[in-house]
């Protein structure tokens, strides 16, 4: 299937440049081989193993039995699984647009050239990305705290009672804020880098045509970075569905607000490492993997179709 020099389905930039026909040869495998060998060991083998063990059930008495798709039907009727899934869905629908929206606005502001101290803005807003999720969560968790956190300070200073961010009602929003804080700068940089590759001649042409700032943004900048927007969107969706670190770490500070099935990943983790239910845990993880792929795929299709 690769015997012709037709560019592959979605060539990265550069492949579409006119190039001499290169005969397919095995030389490329010399370079890609090492990556694929380790990839097989740490990605493909575990996925295959996961699929395999999801078809079994281990009982305290009677050992391991083949049960076919029983684990899957169990998951689909499992209220804890649905609760976790709906929680990350809400998270996805609210947090991702907020985060990407802020990132886009900042990127456009940086790119407009109208900011004082642009480089300072860019590097400072990006900095939280370098902070480990553990540190970010502990830090925000302490700040949320009513004991020695800012929330406590505010309550004291103004004699009011700000709702506790670590209460069961608000903890999801509190986590959304942590994730937004961590990744706004990262997404901003992705968008900003994409904006920088827009040819300046387009802006000159627009200026000659009398287009205003707003028109330049909607007619030139946004279409030009659509690809980056879709990529960032997909990565954010994947990230939301895989939410684990922040709730898991916050559990120490808010034990009553975060259940063992707070997110699907946390649920799968609890099932296997506290519950010893490896088979069912693998099933939950596989369902989430498939779901993530389907949604990422749909977003990509829709994102790309508008381009036409």
């Amino acid at each position: 299937m690769t015997q012709t020099a037709v560019p592959i389905a979605a060539p990265p930039a550069g492949e579409a440049l006119p190039r001499r026909r290169s005969r397919p040869s095995w030389a490329g495998w010399g370079f890609v081989g090492p990556f694929m060998a380790v990839f097989t060991l740490v990605f493909l083998a575990p996925i295959a193993y996961s699929l395999w063990i999801s078809l079994f059930r281990t009982q305290l008495v009677g050992g391991t039995a083949f049960v076919g798709l029983e684990n899957y039907s169990r998951a689909l009727q499992d209220p804890q699984f649905w609760s976790a899934l709906s929680r990350v869905s809400v998270f996805l629908v609210v947090q991702v647009p907020v985060m990407l929206g802020i990132a886009l606005l900042v990127a456009l502001a940086l790119d407009s050239g109208r900011l004082y101290g642009r480089d300072f803005f860019r590097i400072s807003i990006f900095l939280p990305y370098a902070v480990p999720a553990v540190v970010a969560t502990l830090m925000w968790g302490f700040m949320y705290g009513t004991r020695f956190g800012l929330v406590g300070n505010i309550n004291e200073a103004f004699g009011i009672s700000v709702p506790n961010p670590l209460s069961p009602d608000l903890v999801l929003a509190a986590i959304g804020n942590i994730v937004t804080w961590e990744f706004v700068g990262y997404n901003m940089l992705i968008f900003y880098s994409a904006l920088r590759t827009v040819p300046t001649s387009l802006y000159e042409a627009a200026q000659i045509d009398g287009a205003g700032q707003w028109r330049v943004i909607t007619a030139i900048k946004l279409p030009a970075i659509r690809g980056a927007l879709v990529v960032a969107g997909i990565f954010s969706i994947i990230g939301s569905f895989q939410l684990f670190n922040e709730p898991s770490i916050l559990q120490n500070l808010a034990p009553n607000a975060i259940t063992t099935y707070f997110t699907p990943n946390l649920y799968a983790f609890s099932l296997s490492f506290s519950g010893q239910q490896y088979n069912y845990s693998a099933t939950v993880a596989i369902i989430m993997g498939v779901l993530t792929m389907v949604i990422a795929y749909v977003v990509q299709l829709r994102g790309m179709r508008k381009e036409a």
């Binding site: 389905a9 999720a133 990943n265």
Partner: protein
């Protein structure tokens, strides 16, 4: 499967010059040098404050004793200035376990992120510059695998590794860190542009082997991309929490992230000593190396990112 690719590359206009030339791009816009706007600066300043205030909180509170942590205003210094005492205590508490965690992290980063970068660079270069049987399959499989949740991999990887006797050893953290699909993708897009095919053909005609062509012709051209990938794999490995959480039982092998969380959890355990001031000071010490790396190398990684990952 190939449709899962997030590559939007094909349709948009493309500029010809090699990526490294682009660092001067900003100045090319002098035709249209807009007036600076105070309003816009102030509005963007809100996001800046949002990003920096928590970090300021962290640094300020690293200067407080545990007593002051509870009694003083969060965003200002307490009665005492205990930063050096806190750092000293952090480094020596519990037989200097923090230093051990720090060295573990350095080890995981050196081998994990270093190895991941090497594999991504040669792999990405292979994908960008060679046509070979199975290339489409490689792409589809790698991109598809990114969507698989961490736990889907972690649990079976844990079971596999425990059968191999690797859990609770550094290898259980290092080996899975060796793969960075994002790094591969970034390097692929970067190499496709940064290394002119003509140059490679010239080297081949001169009789150079592929390995030699790579090492002497391509590698120097790939430098900004390599720095970018290295920084991102470094962050991923330095900040990794989930994988070591599953793989490691023995605190002597913990990386910093796991150690800090253990210190924080200690307060909640029966008879455990609350050491919030050490958690905070330790957090500062944990983020300093990465922040320094990003600041010092920013010229390199930013040009690599602009030219590579999201080139339209």
């Amino acid at each position: 499967m190939t449709t899962a690719t997030p590559s939007p590359a094909a349709a948009t206009p493309r500029r010809a010059p090699a990526p490294r030339l682009r660092s001067t791009r900003g100045r090319g816009r002098s035709v249209d040098r807009p007036r600076r706007s105070v309003l816009l600066t102030v509005l963007t300043g809100i996001v800046l404050l949002y990003s920096l205030v928590p970090l300021a909180w962290l640094v300020i509170n690293a200067t407080k004793t545990q007593g002051d942590l509870f009694s003083s205003f969060g965003l200002w210094f307490g009665d005492s200035f205990a930063l050096l005492t806190n750092i000293g205590q952090t480094l020596t508490y519990d037989d200097a376990i923090f230093v051990r965690w720090f060295l573990n992290t350095v080890l995981y980063v050196a081998l994990g992120a270093g190895g991941a970068t090497a594999l991504a660079v040669i792999g990405g270069y292979g994908l960008a510059k060679f046509t070979f049987p199975g290339k489409r399959g490689v792409f589809a499989v790698v991109i598809g695998a990114v969507a698989v949740p961490g736990t889907a991999l972690a649990v079976p990887t844990f079971l596999m590794f425990s059968q191999l006797g690797l859990t609770n050893t550094p290898w259980s953290v290092i080996i899975p860190s060796l793969i960075s699909p994002f790094g591969l993708y970034l390097m692929w897009t970067f190499a496709a542009e940064a290394v002119p095919t003509e140059l490679l053909e010239a080297a081949r005609i001169d009789g150079a082997t592929e390995a030699r062509t790579f090492a002497q012709v391509s590698l120097p051209l790939l430098a900004p991309g390599i720095v970018t990938v290295l920084l991102f794999t470094m962050v991923a490995t330095w900040n990794n929490y989930f994988l070591p959480l599953i793989m490691l039982k023995d605190p002597d092998w913990y990386p910093l992230t796991l150690g800090l969380n253990a210190w924080n959890a200690q307060a909640a355990t029966a008879g455990g000593e609350a050491i919030f001031h050490l958690v905070i000071t330790g957090s500062v010490l944990t983020i300093v190396p990465l922040v320094v790396a990003f600041l010092f190398l920013q010229r390199y990684w930013q040009s690599g990112l602009a030219a590579g990952s999201v080139k339209e």
